[in-house]
Amino acid sequence: MEGVSRKRGRPRVVVTEAVAEARRLAVQQRNLRRDKRKGTKYFKAQNKLPVTFTPTDLVCCRTLQGHSGKVYSLDWTPEKNRIVSASQDGRLIVWNALTSQKTHAIKLPCPWVMTCAFSPSGQSVACGGLDSICSIFNLNSSMDKDGNVPVSRMLSGHKGYVSSCQYVPDEDTHLITSSGDHTCILWDITTGLRTSVFGGEFQSGHTADVLRCVPSVSINGSNSRMFVSGSCDATARLWDTRVASRAVRTFYGHEGDVSSVKYFPDGNRFGTGSEDGTCRLFDIRTGHQLQVYKQPNSDSDIAQVTSIAFSISGRLLFAGYANGDCYVWDTFLAQVVLNLGSLHNSHEGRIIYLGLSADGSALCTGSWDSNLKIWAFGGHRKVT
């Protein structure tokens, strides 16, 4: 906020300071309320045994080659082992993850794509990027005269780049986008219209670019109509799709852009990754920060977190970093148990996106080296 309003009413700088003070008080009260036995101390007190991995326990069993530019995003189908990936080469590729075959190669109207997503039915894919538009492609539609899959719907309305897009669970007709215009939008794909806009210039919401949004996981077939967003304002926010006027809760703690957000598999917690180099675990209902995953050797240059993913039980947190590391964290004890980036057949570039398969048996990594790799359990091991 700049300047001071000299007009009638309270000067804006005074109000701004009041807001900042209120925020400090809220965080302080929350810290006082937080039990001292949170996170690592709690789990150690419960005698939770650590997870151990050998370098051959998680192996790269597939390398998907086909893009000619940096991979920026990927998404698994909810069922079946198919992956859609988006690359700076201006294409979406749909892969059969088991056979490594490409089933579709979609040339995009705008090559500057930043995000992609599979619809819950697996029949459509969505993407968005610097064109500020979210484009939908029906994989079953006929090719056009140039041999390309035509765009079936273009969702335009954002005033900035589309940073992420995700379908609402179990609904092929609705998806949520986040944008550099500081807002998230819930779209009705059938009509192409905006159902709700979350945040904005005069709304209570993010105060900087929103980098990621993720709808709540479907628990027992029910959709809770909530989603979480992460932003360059260093906060994550919980939203109710039925109430666009304000966020339900704001989560403080990070000291840099929140570049990645993923739900914990139980649906009541979520993890974040940030440019401050840390990952954090938050409780949705209380707002508590339960755990911080701080890189070892953090005295030297701290690498930014690019993407995170939880294993299906939640015991493991996978985190990709800008320096090419991909740490596997024990979520209980906040210890690194493996670095996929250091394995001999790992990516040659930054891992920019992580995604876990629907059944939790495989992890897909997308990298700036233009490849995708699939990792799965490869040996015998035991929880010691």
Binding site: A22, R33, D35, I312, G360
Partner: protein, 135 residues
């Protein structure tokens, strides 16, 4: 004006051009924008004050940690295989092959054949000279 005067007099130079300040009119758009921003910030203060009041009623973080622990321990994880016996996990093959059971069967047959040869249950095929064959 005659040439003598023009030749000897100094023509007063025009003042250098200078940008004019905008006219002093009421900037209604700016006023309303400022008011809207102040209202938004006041609303934000209200939300934060509500949150401060509600903090005292929320459950402790250790309670949330217990929920996390209970959930994790109750759910198996294909990427973490607890084993009672030390044995080779074939989960990766299950994942890779999926429905291609034939491949698994072929691999199993090859392995069994190798094991059988090692145990001398099946003699290794030997190359016989033509003259050794029975007529």
């Amino acid at each position: 004006m005659d040439g003598a005067k023009r030749g000897s007099s100094i023509v007063p130079s025009l003042p250098p051009p200078s940008p004019k300040s905008p006219p002093d009119y009421s900037d209604l758009y700016g006023k309303r924008r400022e008011l809207a921003l102040v209202q938004m910030l006041d609303r934000e203060i209200g939300f934060l004050e509500e949150e401060i009041k509600s903090v005292g009623r929320i459950q402790t973080a250790s309670h949330s940690c217990k929920e996390v622990a209970d959930f994790v321990m109750a759910n198996s994880d294909p990427l973490i295989t607890p084993s009672c016996k030390i044995r080779r996990s074939r989960r990766i093959w299950r994942w890779l092959c999926g429905k291609a059971h034939a491949e698994i069967v072929v691999i199993a047959i090859v392995l069994l054949a190798q094991i059988a040869r090692a145990l001398a249950l099946v003699p290794a095929p030997s190359v016989q000279a033509a003259g050794d064959q029975d007529v």
